[in-house]
Symmetry: C2
Subunit: 470 residues, 2 copies
């Protein structure tokens, strides 16, 4: 009997599904880069069931591909097309185990959808600071296993920074329980850090304790037209100074991206009178009902307009106008899709180098990109630019995009790395960026990665072929 | 020839010192728990010299004990008394390599004294948020290798949370260079996390890039007399709400600790009129010159007094009064030393359990402690209590302390762990807490620790015997 048949035979039938029509839903990644094969999808309901499955896979030598909401941009949760791996879906492991409002912590299982956790925190009078565009479908285990970023990183940090405790099943089936929601716990190696961001290649995250924050009592949102790209970092510094580092988001939108979106969605209005080359959606928040955040934001805008750093700007008058401004930022990816999709470069540089990177990388595409259309947006406070390129109007995206990735993308990545930056800010490695990691990664880092993989998953059964080649 | 003689012969003579009088200064830990032996102290001036030393040690099989400011509370930087190890002092590797005010980052070498880095950040118009009582002597490499905490953790996090990039020499002499000061960089395993907090057992930290923060434009410091210990967490929550989470420190001082200090230092005055059982030194800061932080703090104090949560309180009128309030908090350890020193329990619990832990643990000492005097202080926002016990007046501390550690301390640790807490919040493991780690540590965590140690330092040459037994 082959190993998968033996394995499935050793598990209760309600642990998995084999109906090919159902299984098929788990086999293609979100961006349709890859379609894999899996004879079954394992769907544990408890951590104990995860342990039983992982131990059985270890015994039978069957590799696992853990999957949450399947929203990876790097095909990190898609099995190999050869059919020797099984998908392990965490979607039924979805209990909110505890909320401690005094300790400002929430403990929940890997399969919880992010928006469900946000709602649970809200119902407890608090806020979960982790927020991503995919909040309606991504799951906690995936967000932690990819150290997700998102739009609140400026104030609250990456997913890793929000984790107080972790529960995971190690490749041999052992349960790692360091789930206590403690803010200080210096007792030996912080082993949870090894699993966070490892994309399921070193074990299966089953639950985590996360930091919560107090709900904002005041939110002020503005949309700015910025005269020169060099002004972006100055503007953010001024805004942080005047608002007391209460800027939660400072999101850059190039005129290219806004133009794509306004062209793609006819009902949308430009939020400002006169067009500009650069825009910013910024938001400041405080849980204090007393501090004068609106006055601080107004003082910031007045100063920026007075000095000519900003040509025009508007502060949202209410929740509806706020939603309209955020709509613009969040629907750029859809506008790219409406134009045949984009070649994405998820790049970061030191924030001091961000304006220069955007200028130089844009010039590269103008010179070498054969008419490709830029779509640039990103998180100024983190130095993370989504530097995307859409096929020229009229060109076939299916032909243009692979050409660009082969011929021009290396120049974009070289530029970022030369400027002290990274070829991968928040999407992770998965399968898609393995070559980039091997090209740009520090050799001693790659050595450490292989050593960690070999030490913790010697049989290479945890999401094999992702992040690190065995 | 013995391995150490061969090793030293292979290195330039200006790499090390052998004068026994000088070497002796490196051999006893800060708390005088242990005195070790080392035939020389290796003192590299550059990362390349560290690499050469580590590679030579690997070749000759000589173990290294890295040492920074030698301020460990757990004898983490003290060599074995058997003399087979060499101390590697990082003190001459002490350049500030770069400050990027726009990127809010500082890159510096391991041997930099913390206060020197604080001054460098200050001179650049910014602030290094890492701050410890030992700031005048502790060094960056040690602070990162122990994931130091301190008095600003509430707002800025532990040392780990401040690290953007790291440079280290691995046990085989390879240079790990992931030093780029990037806020987002999801490119494979975050290997720097493995070295942070590892107490030099997996490699030698040589440099790091740290986050900087904006300098406070406003600082408001208060001293509160708190009626009931249960009110501590409520008070902190109220203060955070009204000040917009700008509370940087919320430090508990028990009447025991304040009493010890006032008795030990005759010139000191009690800052409030009437004595109470519980006190808090709290500080709020904002970089904004506009926000009404003083008004928010005054509103908090008025509300707390009105509800009887606070019996009495004072807000410092200026820098001098602020220094006086902080003096009380920072000199408690000296008052303990003046009374023969203390048995220290560096415990953390979820903040929701903090008042209950303090009450229950105090009752334990009253019942079983044979008259030992409590000295309790700590960081309410982190759940970290320094639960210390001084020998009874008139008793010999040299006899009392070991007795207490053997007979009563296990009850204190059991209580903390039973309440979901930790036996070690910020001091680390070193040699002193190895037994506690093996007793209370999660078995799968200990398994992972041994696997990481074996994978990265298979010859066990990096600070052997610390943190994890080979």
């Amino acid at each position: 009997m082959d190993p998968i048949t033996s394995l499935l035979g050793s598990l209760p039938p309600d642990f998995y599904i084999t109906d090919p029509d159902v299984v098929a839903k788990y086999l293609t990644d979100f961006r349709h880069f890859r379609t894999g094969a899996s004879r079954a999808v394992l769907r544990p309901r408890t951590t104990a069931e995860v342990q039983r499955i992982v131990a059985a896979c270890a015994a039978h030598g069957v590799p696992l591909v853990p999957q949450g909401g399947n929203t990876s941009y790097c095909a990190a949760a898609t099995p190999s097309p050869l059919g020797g791996e099984l998908v392990l879906s965490l979607e039924r492991l979805n209990a909110v185990r505890a909320i401690d409002p005094t300790n400002l912590s929430l403990t929940a299982e890997a399969g919880c959808v992010l928006s469900v956790l946000q709602e649970a925190a809200d119902a407890a009078g608090l806020m979960l600071p982790l927020d991503l565009g995919s909040r309606q479908s991504c799951q906690l285990g995936g967000a932690l296993s990819t150290n997700a970023g998102g739009i609140s990183v400026l104030k609250y940090g990456m997913a890793r920074d929000l984790v107080l405790g972790l529960e995971a099943v190690l490749p041999d089936g052992q349960l790692l329980n360091v789930l206590q929601p403690l803010r200080k716990n210096n007792t030996g190696y912080d082993v949870k850090q090894v699993l966070l961001g490892a994309e399921g290649t070193l074990g299966i995250v089953t639950a985590a304790s996360l930091k919560l924050a107090r709900k904002p009592a005041q939110t002020v949102t503005a949309f700015l037209a910025v005269a020169e790209i060099d002004a972006l970092t100055t503007l953010l510094a001024r805004a942080q100074l005047l608002t007391g580092e209460n800027v939660t988001s400072f999101e850059y939108i190039s005129h290219h991206s806004l133009g794509l979106l306004l062209a793609a969605q006819a009902g949308l209005r430009h939020p400002l009178e006169a067009p500009a080359r650069h825009y910013v959606v910024m938001e400041a928040q405080t849980c204090s009902p007393l501090l004068g955040l609106e006055e601080a934001m107004a003082a910031f805008l007045e100063e920026a307009l007075g000095e000519g750093l900003v040509n025009d700007g508007t502060i949202a008058a209410g929740g509806q106008q706020r939603d309209q401004l955020w709509y613009l930022r969040e629907h750029i990816p859809e506008a790219e899709v409406a134009n045949g999709g984009s070649v994405k470069h998820d790049v970061s540089v030191p924030t001091s180098a961000l304006p220069s990177f955007i200028s130089q990388a844009s010039a590269l595409v103008e010179t070498h990109g054969a008419g490709g259309r830029l779509s640039i947006y990103g998180h100024v406070g983190d130095g993370n630019v989504h530097f995307n390129v859409v096929a020229p109007a009229g060109a076939d995206p299916a032909g243009y995009k692979p050409w660009f990735e082969r011929e021009v993308s290396p120049r974009v990545y070289d530029l970022a790395v030369t400027m002290g930056g990274s070829f991968g800010a928040e999407y992770g490695i998965g399968i898609v960026k393995l070559d980039l990691l091997e090209r740009y990664g520090d050799p001693a880092k790659l050595h450490m990665m292989r050593a960690l993989k070999a030490a913790l998953d010697p049989a290479n059964l945890m999401n094999p072929g992702k992040v690190v080649r065995a």
